[in-house]
Amino acid sequence: MLTLHVEYFAILREQRGLTQETLTTTAATPTVLYAELRARHAFTLPADRVRAAVNDEFVAATALLRDGDRIVFIPPVAGG
């Protein structure tokens, strides 16, 4: 089991109803964790439209998560 800190922004923050949480999970990668969270919280965005950042750097969807990581799922951006 990993203990992870998850932060939410924008549409995910609204759908989750909070800005961050700490959770324990067996998910080893962002993809698996997102699928778990999406099922639990009814996130509308499919996994292929969400990127992941760990400890404030973009990572691959299949990167291995480590205990204590801070992870952010990034909805499609729309700055400018």
Partner: protein
């Protein structure tokens, strides 16, 4: 990653997220440089309409720590690709009214070709890569996170 290895004059570039009103006059003034023959600026303004829907106001939200890093990378790439003197970019967050300045990009170079190309590069990459999100408030009272619609939104399926 190769993009981390670009070396440029850091004083000549800055990417910032701002929660207060942007002042383009002050931002331009900071670009003054007697070596520069060209200054190109891009301003993104809040429009009263998006894809046919009347817009009342906008909210921008940023993942500031990563936005700053990705913004700085984009500016460093622009410096590496084009012969620039300076390139700055600043993005508003928070609630913005119609006509408000949402993003300002300013580039100086000896010659105009590089200034135009770099300014365009920076705004295109910033829109595509920097973790900033836009929520539109429409006159009818509805809202939408831009680019985040899924097929389900349109079909009334909230899956």
């Amino acid at each position: 990653m190769t993009r981390e290895m670009i070396t440029v004059d850091l004083a000549a570039m800055s990417f910032r997220i701002s929660s207060s009103v942007l002042d383009p006059t002050a931002l331009s003034r900071a670009l003054a440089d007697e070596r520069a023959g060209a200054c190109v600026t891009f301003e993104g303004w809040v429009r009263n309409c998006n894809e046919g829907q009347p817009v009342l106001s906008l909210e921008y939200e940023a993942y500031a720590l990563l936005a700053d890093k990705e913004g700085a990378r984009i500016l460093a790439e622009a410096h590496a690709k084009f012969p620039l003197l300076a390139a700055h970019c600043i993005h508003r967050v928070g609630l913005l009214q119609l006509g408000a300045l949402a993003i300002w990009v300013g580039v100086t170079a000896e010659h105009r070709g590089a200034a135009f190309d770099a300014c365009r590069y920076i705004i295109d990459e910033a829109k595509a890569r920097v973790p900033i999100w836009k929520k539109e408030h429409y006159t009818g009272g509805t809202t939408a996170w831009i680019n985040c619609a899924t097929r389900g939104d349109f079909a009334g399926d909230t899956r």
